[in-house]
């Protein structure tokens, strides 16, 4: 079942949470809504679910306008950040809930419900835990119960609101792969909200970047990561060093640093340059105007990657650099040493 979001806007009091959102999600796709907290991504998810009403715009499921439809008619599965399991019910009863509350005419028989819940318990790998209560489970297990509960009603659409947000880093990673696998097997159209770009890139078919209630970019993880549409996206996905300067005749200039700017403009304009921490070459001596003199302020040499904190000699801005351990030991770098760094890849935006 496909989802179409047409011109959706929403304001709380005078604060515009969502501003003319347009998004189409084809059947079976897993889409991540990625954005900083307060960007409106959760509000958008709640509007799709019917938990909130948009001020303007339409929500269309498979060609059917459901903007004013009741939550029940939408048949969405929803997974909350803090699980929202029913504490007074066992895991089994939590999962069976959506089937048991159906009107008698369409309610499955007791045996059918049991078979279905057992199947879901297997799917989320919690077969031995059916008789436990949510308080007796770990966070990761609880979230898997919440997922099984949402899938029990055979939703046409699955919505996940920061599903791994409350879990620790290791469990998060495991559940990420597991969600990806699960999606491959059930193939239900899914939207999941996250503020963790790594999570979005690993799990989603497509990533939608939202900021201040507006969509900044939509694309596959590769597209978004390698070709960020604007400075916000570049800065938001992964760490980045920022250079503020101006663009003159195809050249970006920031202090003593210059690089080519592939922007067709003869007019002088302000520009922003971004360089990922691992896109630097370290030199002992200056090799031309593309390299920047810096002083090493801090060395963090734990693990295979060495993190350097350096200060530019001209503007005194601090830059973060990552090099691998072999390179680091060959160069024999010391704190307070002055070196030259040359960006291998710079992304320039005119602003």
């Amino acid at each position: 079942m496909s989802i179409e979001i047409n011109h959706v806007s929403k304001a709380f009091d005078s604060f515009q949470i969502l501003n003319d959102i347009n998004l189409t999600i084809p059947t079976g796709e897993l889409v991540a809504l990625l954005g900083p907290s307060g960007s409106g991504k959760t509000s958008l998810l709640r509007i799709v679910a019917g938990l909130e009403q948009p001020d303007n715009g339409q929500i269309v499921f498979h060609g059917q306008d459901l903007t004013n439809a009741h939550i029940k008619e939408r048949q969405v599965g929803f997974v909350f950040q803090h699980y929202a399991l029913f504490q007074n019910m066992t895991v089994f009863n939590n999962i069976a809930y959506g089937l048991r509350v159906r009107p008698r005419k369409i309610r499955p028989s007791r045996a059918e419900i049991k078979a279905k819940v057992d199947k879901l318990l297997r799917l989320v790998r919690l077969e031995p835990f059916g008789k436990r209560y949510p308080s007796q489970l770990s966070g990761g297990q609880r979230q898997r119960v919440a997922l099984a509960r949402a899938l029990a009603i055979e939703p046409k659409i699955l919505l996940l609101d920061e599903p791994f947000g409350a879990l620790d880093a290791k469990v998060r990673k495991e559940l990420r792969y597991w969600l990806r696998e699960l999606h491959e097997s059930v193939k239900v159209t899914s939207i999941f909200v996250t503020h963790d770009q790594e999570e979005a890139f690993e799990v989603a078919d497509r990533v939608v970047i939202i900021q201040n209630g507006k969509i900044e970019q939509v694309g596959t993880p590769e597209q978004v990561y390698n070709h960020p549409a604007n400075p916000f996206v570049y800065d938001f996905i992964g760490s980045a060093n920022k250079f503020e300067g101006k663009i003159i005749n195809g050249t970006f200039i920031d202090g003593s640093f210059e690089t080519e700017a592939p922007i067709d403009s003869n007019i002088e304009s302000a520009g922003l340059g971004f360089v990922r921490p691992y896109h630097f070459v370290i030199e002992k001596d200056r090799s031309g105007k593309y390299s920047i003199p810096v002083q090493i302020k801090h060395i963090h040499a734990v693990g295979p990657t060495v993190h350097l904190e350096v200060e530019r000699s001209d503007s005194h801005n601090v830059l973060n650099i990552e090099i691998n351990w072999e390179e680091f030991s060959l160069l024999n770098l010391k704190k307070d040493q002055t070196i030259h760094i040359k960006p291998k890849k710079v992304q320039i935006f005119a602003v």
């Binding site: 679910a49 939550i71 929803f78 803090h82 929202a84 007074n88 809930y97 959506g98 509350v101 509960r149």
Partner: protein
């Protein structure tokens, strides 16, 4: 709970450091509290039973099975049985509306819930006299149609309802506010109706607070004097509740009879406190 196996070393070390002066202060404060407790709580309570049994068990029993006394006990239980369920239903409704919806004037409503607590019960009773008595046109109309509310059982029920209204909603509102609406949302998203959601999700989450509120409401409904005294008219065997009957007997110097009924009310009160304590311990175990 503290473990009894481990010696409580830090506390002993701490106690050793206490100087003599601190010990004196500590013990004199504890003594003052205990003396006050015995003087103002235990001795009066014991004296109720002492006075009630002063002339022997048979006199005690006969003053309880006396017709007016039985009628008073019956009326009190009858009023309580009506008031507590009504207040339970409206208390839940009130708490639900306050915590699950947002609307204009909500904060004013939350403040007004406490009105029966802040207003003197006598005024609470007087309101109903003014509303349904001879002095108002509504009252005159009702009386001419043979509907007597004031100086009658309906008046007592209304006055008790008014005085005990806040108990249950006041227990429920903070709890329901802290729980939020996310469980209810989950239930609705799974296809449950509002009623199913209330029965299967909301009610189990609030059941202990509800029970606790009912106990408090029950205790007050049995014991209410001021408001009921104003509306009842003190008609012996008709509109006298237990507290009113005690006052009547006392004024007539029938001390044994007065204390006999007082002893029953005290037993009910003690029973309520015991249930409350048991419940509190049970909840503690549940939530651990």
């Amino acid at each position: 709970m503290e473990s009894t196996v481990q010696p409580n070393l830090p506390r002993q070390a701490f106690a050793a450091r206490h100087s003599l002066k601190e010990n004196v202060v500590r013990w004199s404060l504890i003594t003052v509290v205990l003396l006050f407790f015995f003087g103002f709580l235990i001795i009066p309570l014991v004296s109720i039973f002492f006075e009630a049994f002063k002339q022997g068990v048979s006199v005690y029993l006969s003053s309880i099975v006396e017709a007016d006394a039985l009628s008073a006990i019956r009326l009190t239980l009858f009023v309580t049985l009506i008031v507590v369920p009504i207040n339970a239903v409206f208390g839940i409704l009130f708490a639900w509306v306050i915590t699950k919806y947002s609307f204009r004037g909500k904060n004013l409503l939350i403040t007004l819930i406490d009105l029966p607590f802040s207003v003197s019960p006598v005024i609470g009773g007087l309101i109903f006299i003014l509303l349904f008595g001879q002095h108002s046109s509504l009252g005159r109309w009702l009386i001419s149609h043979n509907i007597n509310i004031v100086f009658n059982v309906p008046g007592i029920v209304l006055a008790t309802l008014f005085v005990t209204f806040p108990f249950i909603s006041r227990e429920l509102i903070p709890l329901m506010q802290s729980q939020g609406t996310v469980s209810e949302e989950a239930s609705i998203l799974l296809g449950a109706s509002a009623w199913q959601t209330f029965i299967h999700v909301t009610l189990p989450n609030i059941k202990w607070a509800l029970f606790y509120g009912i106990i408090l409401c029950n205790a007050r409904a049995i014991g209410e004097f001021g408001a009921v005294s104003v509306v009842s008219g003190h008609i012996r065997g008709m509109t006298n509740t237990m507290p009113l009957q005690i006052e009547n007997l006392y004024n007539e110097y029938q001390f044994v009879a007065a204390f006999a009924i007082a002893s029953i009310m005290s037993l009910l009160a003690i029973l309520t406190m015991v249930i409350k304590v048991v419940l509190e311990n049970f909840i503690k175990k549940q939530t651990r």
